[in-house]
Symmetry: C2
Amino acid sequence: MKNYFKTVIFIAFLSLATQTFAQEQQAPPAPAARPAFQMGNAVVSPEILPDNKVIFRLDAKNASEVTINGEWMSMGAAEKLIRDDTGLWSATLGPLAPEFYGYTFNVDGATVLDPSNAQIKRDGSRNASILLVPGKESELYTADNVPHGTLSRVWYDSPTLGSTRRMYVYTPPGYENSRKRYPVLYLLHGGGGDEDAWTTLGRAHYILDNLIAQGKAKPMIVVMTNGNPVQAAAPGDNPVEPVQASFMASAGAMGSGKFEESLIKDVIPYIKRHYRVLAGRKSRALAGLSMGGMQTMNTTQNHPGMFDYIGVMSMGLMDMTDMGVQADQDLDAKIEALKKSGYELYWIACGKDDFTYEGVTKLRKKLDEHNFRYIYRESTGGHTWANWRIYLSELAPQLFR
Amino acid sequence: MKNYFKTVIFIAFLSLATQTFAQEQQAPPAPAARPAFQMGNAVVSPEILPDNKVIFRLDAKNASEVTINGEWMSMGAAEKLIRDDTGLWSATLGPLAPEFYGYTFNVDGATVLDPSNAQIKRDGSRNASILLVPGKESELYTADNVPHGTLSRVWYDSPTLGSTRRMYVYTPPGYENSRKRYPVLYLLHGGGGDEDAWTTLGRAHYILDNLIAQGKAKPMIVVMTNGNPVQAAAPGDNPVEPVQASFMASAGAMGSGKFEESLIKDVIPYIKRHYRVLAGRKSRALAGLSMGGMQTMNTTQNHPGMFDYIGVMSMGLMDMTDMGVQADQDLDAKIEALKKSGYELYWIACGKDDFTYEGVTKLRKKLDEHNFRYIYRESTGGHTWANWRIYLSELAPQLFR
């Protein structure tokens, strides 16, 4: 009996220790041979070396080929792992630039996660194992020893969409200890994502924690909604009532403007009633990426004067007629109305390799025709969370000034 | 350009659709041959059939053997998947009893998650793919169409443990819309777990939502801490400062009583200051499983009269001297003091096959010697979350009556 208990506790704490080894830069180099403690899944992977090379390991005794694909590689690329005589496969890659990467293994044709790595990120229906290479560039979204805001999963009624829906609300450090009121950033995810995306993939809460601690951003509330009109919450947290989400219905819903309507009618009033917010346009920002960028454009064009700070990331004027989404015939009039309404900031960001680049160029041309004031930030890279994390870290300091 | 965008959106919504198919009971039967839409990971797995048989599928063209182990099987058991001529492996298992299961595949010796299943649960450093078989028994913790409480990740200062630490706080539906005060249940996880465990694995927030909606439990606040003194937060959310968590240090910390001290000195005062709680012992409950059960016993024995409701799950009087944890020499006096202090409920629950069963029997014998009033609930099964979910659903209705 004693031994059973001891074993359970031993495994439990071994797990914690392995976890720590795997994720800390200070991890000791792994022994060359398989050490005695490598029971079950206790293989150490990934192991980040001091020079930012990374060792990946997988126990697969009977596999004939094991490869790895990581977000630092091109899509579909693969590096081979080498088998030792115990059936442990490994590869040492890099050095890798400091970044929050996803990666997967392929074992004899099956694309799988790293079983030794407890940390996983979900992007819609796809998961990847997490590799956080520490360094200056990844510091902005690393969980650091600074005061942390509270991140809450809140359910609100949406009469507009006919469901009770879930959103994430970040309240800044100190919120609970004061009577102060705060400005609000509404932050929208892209197609295929959900209310988890901006924290799990975007690490928005840590970006805000760090910027606020450094005095670079004003303390603010950040509201992260689920932008899919047909989905009440992320998979697994979606109430059991089946969502009628065929592909065409979803695409249609995306172009329906219904989410945008619910943002105005349901979300913003809920936040006003339940949080200590500063009222008025000067304390209200709306930003989004990709599909969320489209929703940001739609919402702000249809409600001029409502948001003084507007951020459009990786989205422009796209031809979506094939998907049943018609171009807005009143676009010119709406841009004029938004211009006349006055606003503090209209910020557009896009990567040079982003597939929306052409659409962003069209958007800028259209805005230029109207002498519409905006700031354009062009980055390297494409349609990636690496870029969106950077964009948020650059946008947040410009808000509510 | 148009096509790129269309493809991305298509994949995004296809992902959503696949997700929905995979997780809803109403999923249509999968076609026998691989349909055209099965690009990449879009294989449907798991697929729950109307009779609760479940089809598992994995794309692994070059594998020589694929097996599955699920929590409905014994540990280490394996069922083989069969390969079709396209390299898609599958097995139809069950029918399975309604339950929230974990499962993993083994591909040529590598133990991996199901890449078609976005839903994953983490137990310490181990992950498993989630299979939620719907039915009467699993209804108690299913995300249902009832009012939902808010689940917040809150950071608090712990001078006792020398760190800023994270906990989950559940506030019941209606909390935000009232000025009412609520009783508080402090709910502790087991060894190897962390502050995520009671929601991710225990689904405590949905259990409370459902019990409250049915009028079976009183609306209450539930506070779920991280019970590992050396860990400020779950892996990945733990601030970058490396935790000095060697195995012996961890085991020592577990027996140090430091977490229990921090619960009294740091956590409870924080909750009092920041939430609308009903003051006093009548509105305070403490419960925990395994290591958390030990912490519950320690805390309530050292603070008689502080908690009127006490729940000890899957834990008793264990001999832990080998781990450097000495038996409490004052146990008899402490039991007498707790008895004299008065309390409403001392609830002990254990499974017949639990490895702590002998320790629980010892605990009951000891309490009987003192004519100490308690309720004992013996279940089938062992040291499992299936049991702890049931225990919580039975304990919560008895609280604050």
